[in-house]
């Protein structure tokens, strides 16, 4: 208790080598964390553990779990680890982030519209045409087709980190089916229950509006001649690792959660099979990848898709969000051009920084990469979820040689970036029963509709729970924190 002088954050040693979000070097909390640190210091360790366990069992009962798939094994159901200590972002710092994210989304949307129509940015040689046309995510089905409202990226997730210099850097854009937003809302709910006192002292911006905003955005891009659109969420099914999120969003929006097999296309209209017969569907928030959408067009073996969906889409009778073919813009090789893309379409300076990126298909870059692998992170351009990432500083010389061979075999497939130093945040480590600095990043969620845009205030702070680990993805042992934007 306080009376005997023990305070649970006293043993915390700030991560001096990295940017510590909570404390300054002397161990004093930063101003915007003062209330929170005081609050935690009033708790005994057993109080803290009790709250922590309550939250954990509440997540478990809610089924906020994800499945980890490994070859030859049954999927393993786990709770998404959650840390009670919230990440706090001051108002002004957030405003700049929000502006930067929106700027980026607007530019990317214009870019997609351009590369599927006039291709001016390619003709002006700002972005190499080959890079676009050789991408497997560039879809001929989208050429010269304008999606309703001209919107491609209705939902984007932008991954950011804070480097040792205290500045935010964009790590990557997620323009296909970014997931994680359900965790943001669930985390907030859990924290409100367990730290309600603290909410009285700090005013954190609300996050619960996201599903309503998403539904509104989806309605703005309804097909022509539809008054009140029927909106559905399409999921690959309950065995998908993000099924919790799909059902969460459908339920919070109050719309049906459907699978491909619930839908069919007749005469270019999409219907769902209900107990009273077919019902027309107008807007589909789909959480199924492009290549599985329509076996008539893409993968013939897809059991998740709807035969004829692309024709219905191109006929303008149904809206898909996000539009197919947006993956061409979140390709890690295109990432490097995003600052130029922003300047090209918006005539503005990018608000948020990119991380320096080396493209292995460029001779000079390849040479640099091969000579400096130990200082770089090597990533395949077309994978997500943290798969295939190699961090040079952790490799033996044999492993480095193996990576070199891999890169040389397919140079278009790899990019490399300097090892960015993710900021650290005080995080409770159950095994050691104390708070320790752990690396974090931030995924923001933004929505783009016809004449409307929205950014979820805060986003998902992901934390790498293993000491020294830089990969924060849940499939790689990462957890999350509630993120508070101060009012």
């Amino acid at each position: 208790m306080e009376s005997n002088g023990y305070r649970i954050l006293d043993s915390y040693k700030p991560g001096n080598a990295h940017f510590d979000e909570v404390f300054i070097d002397s161990g004093k909390p930063k101003e915007h964390y003062q209330n929170t640190v005081d609050h935690f210091n009033k708790l005994t360790l057993s109080d803290y553990e009790r709250i922590n366990n309550e939250v954990k069992s509440s997540f478990f009962n809610q089924g906020i779990t994800f499945a980890v798939y490994a070859e030859d094994k049954k999927p393993d159901e786990r709770i998404f680890p959650f840390d009670l200590f919230p990440r706090i972002i001051p108002k002004d710092e957030w405003q700049e982030l929000e502006n930067g994210v929106l700027q980026r989304n607007r530019a990317i949307n214009l870019f997609l519209n351009d590369i599927y129509h006039k291709k001016l940015i390619l003709k002006d040689k700002v972005v190499p045409a080959d890079l676009i046309f050789s991408s497997k995510n560039y879809l001929k089905e989208m050429v010269d087709f304008t999606p309703p409202g001209g919107i491609y990226t209705h939902v984007s997730g932008t991954d950011l980190i804070k480097h040792t210099d205290g500045k935010y850097y964009i790590l990557e854009d997620n323009l296909r089916c970014p997931s994680g937003v359900s965790y943001v809302l669930s985390n907030r709910l859990a924290l409100k229950k367990s730290l309600f006192d603290l909410f009285n002292k700090l005013k954190a911006k609300a996050v619960y509006q996201y599903p309503e905003q998403l539904l509104e955005i989806l309605k703005t891009v309804k097909p022509k001649n539809v008054d009140v659109p029927t909106v559905v969420v399409v999921t690959p099914g309950m065995y998908n690792s993000a099924y919790f999120e799909h059902s969460f969003l459908a339920q919070k929006m109050g719309v049906p959660l459907v699978e491909g097999r619930d839908l069919f296309v007749e005469k270019n209209f999409v219907y769902m099979k209900t107990i009273y017969g077919p019902q027309k569907v107008d807007v589909i928030y789909r959480r199924v990848d492009d290549e599985f959408l329509d076996p008539m067009h893409f993968r013939k073996d897809s059991m998740l898709g709807v035969p004829g969906l692309m024709n219905a889409y191109r006929a303008g009778n149904v809206t898909l969000a996000n539009a197919p073919g947006t993956g061409v813009a979140d390709d890690k090789a295109v990432y490097n051009y995003v600052p130029d893309i922003i300047k090209y379409y918006l005539n503005e300076e990018p608000i948020l920084n990119n991380v320096k990126t080396y493209h292995c298909d460029r001779e000079d870059d390849l040479k640099y990469v091969l000579e400096n692998i130990d200082k770089l992170v090597v990533k395949p351009v077309d994978e997500s979820g943290g798969y295939g990432i190699t961090i040079g500083s952790t490799l033996t010389s044999e492993e480095i040689d193996a990576v070199k061979v891999k890169i040389k075999a397919d140079t278009r497939k790899y990019i490399a970036q300097p090892i960015m130093s993710l900021s650290v945040h005080a995080t409770y480590i159950e095994d050691n029963k104390e708070f320790e600095p752990r690396h974090i990043d931030l995924r923001t969620f933004s929505l783009l509709g016809k004449n409307s845009e929205y950014v979820l205030k805060g986003g998902l702070t992901r934390v790498a729970l293993k000491r020294g680990n830089l990969i924060v993805n849940s499939s790689q042992g990462g957890g999350s924190k509630d993120t508070w934007v101060l009012d």
Binding site: Q62, P256, L257, D262, K273, T274, I275
Partner: protein
Amino acid sequence: MLSRVANNLYWMGRYIERAEHFARYSKVIYFSALDAPILKTYDRDFVQESMLYMAGIFDMESKTEKDVLFKIGLDAQNSNSIISNVSMARENAHGARSAISTELWEAINRYYHLVISYPVDTYLTTGFYEFTQMILDQTSIVRGKIYGTLLHEGEWAIILIGMYIERVVQVIRIINSKLNDVFKIEQAGHSVTEQSFEWTTLLKCVEAFDMNRKHYASIPDKNQVLEFLLLNQSCPRSISNSLSGIMRYEEKIRISEKRDSETIGFKIGKLQQKYQYLTIDDFKDNVYELLNYTQEKILEIGSEFEKKYLSY
């Protein structure tokens, strides 16, 4: 409502109900046998046979008590075990996750986790009562959430149709199973008083003992018990009451139909009417016949219901 989701809800209802009947039957049979008056015929083998009969298992090789308890309770390989039924209920709820309330989902999910994490050792040694009682308690919670947290519309009605169809099926099985036991005892030449113990057990198997007492205020005998469990409209697990339930909830989701004897509504209605105007004297000599007929009809109604509303 999506047909696939309706299918999930219907089967969720059936599995929840099924797990409850299995657990209750096993519990009652097992514990009432411990001090049964006819110890000689009522030995452990007899009890195990009865439990296996109810669970539809006829091909067990080793039949030690532990094997039997494991098989019907926590054997995930046995698709008829309690754990399998609860898993299937949860799986179906998961598939219909966005169509049911958070409260109902959490109740089912918690139920499922309690069952799958129940230690096998404890179950086989000291926990059999606690485990089966837990199933009954969790079922009550889930049933409460079904009534209290869903709009009394389509989704709710479909879950209940599933539960009531399953109830008819299981109550018939329970009665059959007990008639079977009594037949063996009769053959061994035991008295009517000794048989009354069996009728008491049967009532307990469907949680109807106290209700029966209240209604008749006398020691239960065969005809009285059968009248109660088949025909009594007020007894929540009687066949007659369950058929009314199916009819009531089917009407909730029915869209206008032609007057046609082939429709589901017609078939349920006819069966229910038959029970409304039946007396014990009509069937006391032919109980098996009536039970078989009802079982056949209810399965037919179930499969037509699936075809009409649940196929996708």
